[in-house]
Symmetry: D2
Subunit: 415 residues, 4 copies
Amino acid sequence: MDGATYRAVRDRTEALAAPLGPEDQVVQSMPDASPTKWHRAHTTWFFDEFVLGGTTRPDYRYLFNSYYEAVGPRQPRNARGLITRPTVDEVATYRAEVDDAMAAVLTDDPSPLVELGLHHEQQHQELLLMDAKHLLHQNPLRPAYSAAPHTPTPVDVLGWGWVEHPGGIVPIGHDGRGFTYDNELPRHDVLLQPFALADRAVTAGEWRSFMADGGYERSELWLSDGWYAVQQHGWDSPLYWEPSADRGAGEWDLFTLGGLRPVDPSEPVVHVSYYEADAYARWAGHRLPTEQEWEAIAHPLASEFADCEGTFVDDHLAEGTVVHPRPAGAHRHGGPPRQLFGDVWEWTGSAYLPYPGFAPAPGAVGEYNGKFMSGQHVLRGGCCATPAGHLRTTYRNFFPPSARWAFSGVRLATS
Amino acid sequence: MDGATYRAVRDRTEALAAPLGPEDQVVQSMPDASPTKWHRAHTTWFFDEFVLGGTTRPDYRYLFNSYYEAVGPRQPRNARGLITRPTVDEVATYRAEVDDAMAAVLTDDPSPLVELGLHHEQQHQELLLMDAKHLLHQNPLRPAYSAAPHTPTPVDVLGWGWVEHPGGIVPIGHDGRGFTYDNELPRHDVLLQPFALADRAVTAGEWRSFMADGGYERSELWLSDGWYAVQQHGWDSPLYWEPSADRGAGEWDLFTLGGLRPVDPSEPVVHVSYYEADAYARWAGHRLPTEQEWEAIAHPLASEFADCEGTFVDDHLAEGTVVHPRPAGAHRHGGPPRQLFGDVWEWTGSAYLPYPGFAPAPGAVGEYNGKFMSGQHVLRGGCCATPAGHLRTTYRNFFPPSARWAFSGVRLATS
Amino acid sequence: MDGATYRAVRDRTEALAAPLGPEDQVVQSMPDASPTKWHRAHTTWFFDEFVLGGTTRPDYRYLFNSYYEAVGPRQPRNARGLITRPTVDEVATYRAEVDDAMAAVLTDDPSPLVELGLHHEQQHQELLLMDAKHLLHQNPLRPAYSAAPHTPTPVDVLGWGWVEHPGGIVPIGHDGRGFTYDNELPRHDVLLQPFALADRAVTAGEWRSFMADGGYERSELWLSDGWYAVQQHGWDSPLYWEPSADRGAGEWDLFTLGGLRPVDPSEPVVHVSYYEADAYARWAGHRLPTEQEWEAIAHPLASEFADCEGTFVDDHLAEGTVVHPRPAGAHRHGGPPRQLFGDVWEWTGSAYLPYPGFAPAPGAVGEYNGKFMSGQHVLRGGCCATPAGHLRTTYRNFFPPSARWAFSGVRLATS
Amino acid sequence: MDGATYRAVRDRTEALAAPLGPEDQVVQSMPDASPTKWHRAHTTWFFDEFVLGGTTRPDYRYLFNSYYEAVGPRQPRNARGLITRPTVDEVATYRAEVDDAMAAVLTDDPSPLVELGLHHEQQHQELLLMDAKHLLHQNPLRPAYSAAPHTPTPVDVLGWGWVEHPGGIVPIGHDGRGFTYDNELPRHDVLLQPFALADRAVTAGEWRSFMADGGYERSELWLSDGWYAVQQHGWDSPLYWEPSADRGAGEWDLFTLGGLRPVDPSEPVVHVSYYEADAYARWAGHRLPTEQEWEAIAHPLASEFADCEGTFVDDHLAEGTVVHPRPAGAHRHGGPPRQLFGDVWEWTGSAYLPYPGFAPAPGAVGEYNGKFMSGQHVLRGGCCATPAGHLRTTYRNFFPPSARWAFSGVRLATS
């Protein structure tokens, strides 16, 4: 851990917030989302609290503690958007103050908590984009996060094939070399039946076929809780899809960080819930992979991330375009899977539960992962809003099965 | 109606918004309140829609229509705070555009709707302050709207007396000369029994006695709905009171637009609901006045507003201090009532209902008042946040009986 | 007060409950309604508590106290239907025990609380029918309270006319001779403008015209709260109306205590809320009467109740038929109003508020009326479910403006 | 499948309902519970619909279909308690009618759906007891389901030990010989790490130690969702525990089907949620078993159920006592586990998910299990309210992690 790495991550947060004005940065669009300003302050508080001892701005502890019971009481999660002061400018000052204090710390041999803090901030970079997208979508004017054009490159979608795995005993979880979250530990063996994964993600065009075939109207395709969600929320398409106002009946537009544009049939479907992913897989005659199956395929590919196809947030920033998954393009069937990393998080059929022998990290940061191990499903592989260096093949993301505002998509599996 | 009057009212709105930053101006603290930015845009839209024909920014009609069904659909009231764009600066531009277009209109003989629009904007000036106060209070840091000092001048509170009225047939309602809202019409006679009004408002010190005597704990003092509200919300004092953190048990602080400060026993109590006002009156062995009783006392006093004691928002602006009701000071009993105008709105026991022969104004602005004639109580007399020229003796303000965020206080009556 | 009167009222309750089995008597269909068993026990507890000192079954005090804070804590109102024991039979035993104890009391000069208790029980007789009707309607089989036939007698509906009143000073409220509730006191004078009342209630056929003219779809006809209720609840007709399953589009059936049957255009419309009554009156170009106007017309007619046209619950019991308002029949215009008493309660435009000089009765029974004086509207005249001897011209019934399960209808007024 | 088996199961339902009167049988205490009458009718409808073709009482299909979307619309689950007709007697008639029609069917070679229907009815026998207990507990009089005495036999609780398992590859799931639900299929191999199970269930006395050590007040012991449940519901003890009214501070009573009695420290703790079970295990320094671990221990024991220690509903009926788990008694450590079957369902750490290769049964009964495979945890082993012949070592029960009204307890595991 050196100062340059610290600085790069911290700067990235500010770069992602830059297109958002003070008004955009303060509002909370739903209890699960947080204001941009809060993300910027909370990630800073993480260093302040856990590395610097909470000395920089003690009056911010209550405001910017997220969920650490061991640290103390905090602003209720669903009321983060009522905090108009400190202002956006004052949060920038807070960031600078903590960065100054951290500079001294970083010259020494830093605590592992510094590295944790940076990974934590990278997670919030993705959340910042998810939450900003959700907020902007509340506005009937459908304003864009970024005016940069986002016209998907047309590609031929040549169908897809299976990547087969013979099953057997495979190792799952992180080996402890390099950084890992505690929930990826310990590495352990599992016994898999033979299975196959699709060699790319499900596309928007394929999702259109599901919709056209009554996908959202046929109870037999759905889990009971999922069917209830369909009825309760009136779901008839992925989040951020809406009937086109000007291109005729049956045409759909998609709200992106670049604004509203037509759905591209070749792009991966994104912003679907676990319930929808599961119903789609049932409709298609297949199923979702388990997280162990996913990892068994991914492990051999991931010695070097650079080899992996896929889209991360870094690509967008380099290109000056907006964050969005990309069409997979043509590919030779049966080859290595495409889009395994980046583009869209892939729902797995696995509940988010502790690995055998799991022990949370010591101290308050032990609340980071372990206490959320109920009621959620694991997603794998990262997405177009994930910072590239943040991902690992063993990385376990998790959301409730009804959540749709993550960049979540679908990869099929079969036995 | 001349351009100078128009300009003065419009400028006043901007002056009241000026202490609030973009973050403060965009957030909505509860469904009943609106963001500052929304108030600034909505009052502008009122001229745009009803005088200029909605031509300035047609895409703002949906966003800034409040409740005019005849105009069309609109942003849900409880979601006004999700609209981060147009920004605060863009709203300022909108105000300027409409003001430019209005300038041409004002040189002609203007529509009565211009005058209505200005009174409408004055109402929103008071709402802007109410709503900003409510928002800032959500913040555990208790930030001030204005750093200007607000130290109540100590006064002797010499008790109070009754102003008696012999009853009989009295005229109620506006006589149609000059501006009036439709709900003040038509003037009609009512028969009153002899009664008396207290010659000043109830003070915070008197409210402390009510609290000390178990006022919030004795069900027999309360209407059934009021007692339910006490239990449901945990009311144990007026809104914005909180136990002092540093002055010892039994001491109370008050959140004002100038921040937190000790309660002054000589100031009028403010921010109480109808239920609390009613319970207090019962505890005191008296009752609240009807709106007709209030008006019967006020009519003779009001040929010239300048003669009336009281505090309006103009006084604060002239003095560079913050908006708050003021202690009544000593007074000779039985004289003309103090604080009848300004300081605090006075809850009456009268439900907000149409006068005999009431007819709403024609057109969409007929929705201004009449459709709200259920489930609310009338308040009279204006408050410290009301623009002075906005009030009339016949003016009927109204809020639901559980509302506390208006500058609402209590004047006793007896038969 | 003699024993025969006591016995007659008590027996009437049992006769009204008799068609309902144990299953029907225990279930609560909504928080505002109560189980039959509860009504039978609560009216008994009233004598037990207030006349006998609560000695009969002290363990029932918690279960069957309704809302008397001065008596102590009680089963939550919305959980009355969870009490399966005491059983229906055990409640009958409780009734007999209290009746035995009361027999001794009644031989002495009884407390005025005995008379209050009987009027209280008569009120609950009507509530018992309202609540049973609401419960049975929840059942998709639409079971009847009574299998007795209820085929409205066809009548010619010859239109209607106005009964005029010259206005002036009129006395309102009870004169204190004979029994009265405290909320009818004190008698006082009010000044009325000239007005007229319709000489009969609005019919179902007239309501059909309102519906056909878009009555439930035109926001301009509705109070704001009423329009919200229409949207929230999906109201498109009075409560208990439903599209006919077998008589073709546009035909409506009506659920009554005798089961489902076609709507008779000549019968009074019933089970409408205040919001609907108000919207209808606006659509018809008129308004609802105030309670004072209603009483000014009714006073001269009511020296002897026997002279009044109308339908009370007694008529039904005598005839062995089911409880329902009846068509008004032809009538000479301008004559004395028909249906003023019985048939349907008539919504007035008056909020339920204390009369000038109102004082609640002393003791816990002072909670009977006064504490409900907010958020409700007055209805006048009794209905087909009211015991005949229970009504007075000064009687003030009250319900929230959204309530529809009372036998509430509409009489128009005009200025 | 012969008629005697059919008759025995059907009679058992009636025997369990017999202590409940009509009032008890009709009320629904919460959306998750159902009235006794509904259980009796629904289990009958199951045969009527799936074996007899729905011919007996077609008008009951809507009322008594539980959740079979393929069958059609149905009474909302949370409104089952509003159906007072058919009455309890009419439901008995329905049961007899269907039994008569089934008699003819049973003489032939019956459909496998008959066997499914009987297992289904056995499940509802347990639900009937769970739901009746929950309902009676709502009553502040705490009435007993059965007056039969239930005084736990005092036993010495000698501590407990571990039953060790070496891990390795073990078969999981039913082998298809004899009856099974679809969710126990297909049998498949899993790889287990070495582990150990406690040789008895956690006792009420041990739970008291957890409570005394701040178990319900220390956030670090809880999953995040569990801690939220503690706060939201005010949990401070298992369901049905309450502070003793007469035995002094710190003493607890327990509501059972036999009424209220002191907690016996030697009895298994029951009616705890998954969140509580998980927190207890963390407090104890251990964890909950996975369902595979549980099954790996149970398989070798279960060739003959008669060998298994434990308490099923049959034992209670034979003894004329009430349904309750029993103290485990002294035992030699390290021997075969006690209470593995019967007494209390044992929460496992496993989410309820499909086994590899799972396929739901064909037809509408395919909705029986598969569509509930999200958001729930698996419980194993049956309980004192389970019919003995209903259980298998492969049996997978499931409830949401917040559910407490099942007879659910805790067995510890360790790695």
